[in-house]
Amino acid sequence: MITPETFRTLLAQVRQQIDFIPSIPHPKPHTFLSSLLPPTHGDELAVLAQDSLVPDTVSPELHQLLDETRDILESPAAMSVLHILLDRSVEEFVSVLEAETKSSRDGVVRLANYLPVATKEAEKIAHGVPNRYFQVLALGKSRER
């Protein structure tokens, strides 16, 4: 059994662990760089091999663009933007969970009760038309109540 407030606190701890790397004196943001772009030259070639309409080598111009993209992705500004995007979309998800999961009279919820709502919401995030999460992220629209 869990209260919605406890769930939010736990989720914030999950976010902290995903988004940051422990470091002294301050935790460092995790950049997700190897998730966003291929980490090795071999991986880069593997990406280019997927598209038959592009050359299968990394030209100097392409190399420069990729380097620039990596620099931006690792910048504090990009980290701030990513955290804002995550704040918005996680808040959207939690507000749906809280609105649609029934709690008992004393305000507590079984953790397992979130499962069906989370499952339904996952489908909406993946295939929703129009996609509310995309609207929240790309267009800055907030949830209509």
């Binding site: 999950v14 998730s35 990406v47 030209s59 663009l65 993209t69 397992a112």
Partner: protein
């Protein structure tokens, strides 16, 4: 942002396939239907206040419409015994998943959210860089052709930009790199989300 809408469903589908909970819920549904076979419409409701919240989690409504003349019939099923059976069933089923049942829904939803946010960020950066390149090229195209009076730095930029001016191949190559996140990168996101959810929610 059109590219995000075009790419995301593919990635999302892979994430959903990786962490399928539907078969578990379908199994639950089948079991529920089996316990009330013959009803044209089956609705399992809890009659107990105390068990209400837990029951809602496993409440499945099935409307088979086999006999349209019958008004929808609601069958109240005592949940006390079958609920335990069903959740045990769910636990056994979830052994087939890579992750435990308790956090599988949360892991997959958070992975979808992180992947979508990452794709939005990556696409914006890609288009900003290509847009800047096109902008510089267009400004240089408007500049006088003569290079005699132009500063060397501008000449250098012009040379560099001319080589890629209208270079759709370069643009296409650069944009094709979102393939990595859509087909590979989300897995490392999933692993990171999973270990965090497991650490926090199991402690």
């Amino acid at each position: 942002m059109f590219s995000v809408l075009a790419l995301y469903p593919n990635m999302a589908q892979q994430i959903l396939e990786e962490l399928r909970v539907e078969p578990i819920l379908a199994e639950l549904q089948q079991k529920r239907v089996a316990t009330t076979a013959g009803a044209s419409s089956v609705r399992a409701l809890s009659t107990s206040d105390e068990g209400d919240t837990a029951t809602k989690a496993s409440m499945i409504t099935t409307n088979t419409n086999l006999d349209s003349e019958d008004p929808e019939r609601t069958v109240l099923v005592s949940q006390r015994k079958s609920k335990t059976e069903l959740w045990n069933e769910l636990k056994i089923k979830s052994m087939n998943c890579r992750f435990g049942l308790a956090d599988v829904g949360l892991v997959r939803t958070l992975t979808l959210i992180y992947s979508l946010s990452a794709l939005v960020l990556l696409s914006r950066i890609q288009f900003n860089l290509l847009g800047r390149q096109a902008y510089v090229a267009s400004i240089l195209a408007l500049a006088p052709e003569s290079t005699s009076g132009t500063a060397p730095a501008i000449q250098q930029i012009r040379l560099r930009e001319e080589s890629s001016l209208g270079d759709l191949e370069l643009q296409r190559s650069f944009l094709s790199f979102s393939w990595w996140l859509v087909h590979r990168g989300w897995r490392t996101i999933l692993n990171r989300v999973h270990s965090a959810v497991e650490d926090i929610f199991s402690s």
